[in-house]
Symmetry: C2
Subunit: 493 residues, 2 copies
């Protein structure tokens, strides 16, 4: 193996990445800027990029380089690049082109069917499409590895290294330990303040959100803020953009979701410039990404000192003159009768995830029929949250994920929250974070996360990165400690 | 040849087009939305798309399909597709990859050098870069066809079918017939009215521009209006976007340049949806494109009846209560002491082009040294326009085209104006256009152009299309008639 091989391999990998990032720009544009009628042409453009990317990823040259490089004497960083591309190459190469095409068509077709079924509260109308998607994704998992649990294989698409056993253990533990806490909160006589009683013009909310991003240290020279129907973050270390949405009566939603997206963007912007185009300049998948967004959203943006800091800006832009403590309460109210995941608080959120996790796992393993989903969904909501949806529209039809064929994605939301708490604990042992937050000094926090997490890109696997950043293995201890202390305090438990 | 061959060929061609259009989206985003620091990553993404597109275009399979299809019995439309792709394939396949790379690097490097040379009025600082570009583009032309005039070969990159002889003859004729008219205008005692004496806020100008686009029939469901440092149009029949720019003291600039871009966008939007991805759904190069923008900008937007129509909106949005005749005069003032091409009127504009055409032709043919450009430029301005630049910044350094390596592009501006006048004459024989314009009825005009030009895509070569649309061969007669009548009238000649 000469270093020429590594160079040729790396150039190929860079083309792959650039193509993926180009597709990301097309996606952002479609969700934020594109006029409605542009869809058919955009679909063709995205499909062309996706086909070409698949060809590059399954290329024979790439396979040969990987073989050569795995037998060669490489640096740790080079080994990490080879490891990541090997994984992507194997997954892509093992799945027949035709199956990729079928899944792509089935998800495209399923989208309007799901939208209508949800609008009309008619699960039966979606049942056939969902059955087809479950079947196709089982085939997909089987193509990648026929000897392993298909749900495990699908889960690894979103979190490749933490292991399904870890995910399952964490979710089970939360399923045991959170419900008593949620119940105690529900039984508590303490009520959270609600100082947001008016309607708040979009321009005022936007001014508050922009000032908040300024304060947190968002690099406007490498970013933008726009609106879209669902908030998201898109981009690279050179250009990581945020979207949000504004609702007149719930200004906290735009604020907290923007802080969440800021966390994602800050991760992207913290990846090393010089490694752009290689796995060393790429984020470490969804668990770690979600840990960054949730750390900023919850451990910063929903903390008591943050509201001490932000209260004057809230008064200035929204005209709400409330004590910081009231703002803090409003940002942390637990809605134990809420049926909708995306509106859930930090406690009940994970019960929403647990329901989805258990159902999708059983669907993919063949232990549950699609027709049984509504019944099982409602039973599980009753079991874990003590509430029961009246309709499937506010039940098992609420999320878009399955309709996109994304089975195995949901657990990463909880894993991200759990990791956020672990990182928060580690960084608090290094600095007096509350004082910093209260004083509006966010640079040290951003720098800590940059050193501990962002700069490494995919140099380490997820467990290695967690160990490197926190000095311990991945654990839910800190998350459970955090929520029990926070909500015990808020609700006088 | 089975029809399978044509289908496989067409699928390949579509991938090519989709990739090019994806690059177009990246380009639009870069000029309109991208944060400044995004440049390095965007350059990599665009270069990856360009490399992959070049690979698809020079692919051996494509070459074999072209050979097979040229020997087969095809429909007229299929023949047109094969003709267009053959031409693109030959041009791409004959140029060594290394030369393409050299040109790409040389143009990237030249840009900041030109910007600084222009800012500091220092042609000598740009001389070396320009010499390199001239040399590389001569090599490029030589690679494509060593037996033909290199300038002709370069010109065909922008106008492949009209022929350099036609371009040269038209430019020479304008060079003879326009100067006496320009001189007469300069000698005339008649002065144009100037009702725009104030400063006009961007929001007011934008409201006027948007109302104008509404009236002209811009399809907002397939387009957008944004601002950028140079106005341009980008997109496809599904999504054709316009940009403009606003200067406080010259509201006519934003208005006329937006109408110009509307003409380009209307061409794109008039291409057939069902042919998207193939040459039958692509525009017929720069002469025809520019004919559409100039027809709308000049024959509509600078016509007397247009100002009858628009005067109330000008009063409403800009507070300028001027007679339509004054607005008409203001939109058509001839600036015979203007040195800047992009600020030129319909008459002197072509003298600016003639200077550039003669210089770039002689440079590429080796009949002029780069060091002589400033002197020759100034002499020609004196000869054709009776004015002489004091500095190279407002002389030969003013345009970006050469710095981009675009030699052979300038003539298409004049060819477009000439064709616009020919189309205008043809459509006026079919309808009372002035009445329609005065009444704000632009649909019949858009439909006429759709039938005559847009719907054909690249079905015909440029001369065929001109014949098809106007019933005559390409001619400058109508343009010369139009300007001599219009300016004779305006300036009482």
């Amino acid at each position: 193996m000469s270093s020429d091989t590594y160079d040729a391999f790396l150039a190929h990998v860079q083309q792959l990445t650039y193509l993926g990032d180009a597709a990301g720009v097309l996606d952002w544009d479609q969700q934020v800027m594109m006029p409605d009628a542009g869809t058919p042409a955009r679909a063709k453009q995205k499909s062309a990029l996706s086909t070409l990317r698949h060809e590059l990823l399954t290329d024979d040259d790439l396979a040969a380089w990987l073989d050569d490089l795995e037998a060669a004497d490489l640096s740790g960083e080079q080994e990490a690049v080879v490891r990541e591309i090997r994984r992507q190459h194997e997954r892509a190469a093992r799945v027949p082109e035709e199956l990729v095409q079928q899944i792509s068509e089935a998800t495209s077709n399923a989208l309007p069917v799901w939208e209508q079924a949800k609008a009309e509260d008619d699960f039966a109308a979606f049942e056939g499409a969902l059955e087809e998607l479950v079947e196709l994704k089982r085939e997909y998992a089987d193509a990648i590895d026929p000897d392993r649990d298909p749900y495990e294989v699908l889960f690894e698409e979103y979190e490749p290294y933490l292991g399904i056993d870890t995910a399952e253990a964490v979710l089970e533990r939360l399923g045991e330990e959170l419900p008593p806490l949620i119940e105690a909160v529900g039984d508590s006589d303490t009520e959270m303040a609600d100082p947001f009683q008016g309607t708040y013009p979009e321009a005022d909310q936007e001014a508050l959100v922009r000032e908040t991003l300024d304060a947190l240290g968002y690099d406007w020279d490498r970013g933008r803020l726009d609106t879209s129907s669902h908030p998201f973050t898109s981009g690279t270390q050179f250009d990581a953009r945020i979207t949000t949405r504004f609702q007149p009566e719930t200004p906290l939603d735009a604020l907290t979701s923007t802080i969440h997206e800021f966390g994602h963007a800050t991760y992207a912007l913290g990846l090393p410039d010089e490694a752009y185009g290689t796995p060393l300049g790429e984020d470490r998948d969804l668990t770690v990404h979600e840990s960054q967004s949730r750390l900023w959203e919850n451990h910063v943006g929903r903390s008591r000192p943050f509201w001490d800091f932000l209260a004057p800006a809230v008064e200035e832009h929204l005209g709400v003159d409330a004590p910081a403590g009231d703002l803090y309460q409003a940002a942390n109210e637990v809605y134990d009768d809420n049926l909708v995941r995306v509106e859930a608080d930090e406690l009940t959120y994970h019960m929403h995830i647990l329901v989805r996790f258990e159902i999708e796992r059983d669907l993919i393993r063949g232990d549950l029929a699609v027709s049984e989903v509504p019944q099982v969904w409602n039973d599980k909501y009753e079991e874990y949250l003590g509430i029961r949806p009246d309709t499937d529209a506010e039940g098992c039809l609420q999320d878009i994920h399955w309709c996109h064929g994304m089975f195995g994605y949901f657990p990463t939301y909880t894993l991200g929250s759990v990791l956020a708490a672990q990182l928060d604990a580690a960084l608090r042992s290094d600095m007096a974070l509350d004082d910093r937050i209260r004083g509006g000094e966010f640079d040290p926090l951003r720098e800590w996360l940059g050193d501990a997490v962002h700069q490494h890109g995919c140099r380490y696997t997820t467990p290695e990165l967690v160990q490197e950043a926190t000095g311990e293995a991945f654990t839910a201890d800190y998350f459970l400690e955090y929520v029990s202390e926070k909500y015990g305090d808020l609700y006088d438990l």
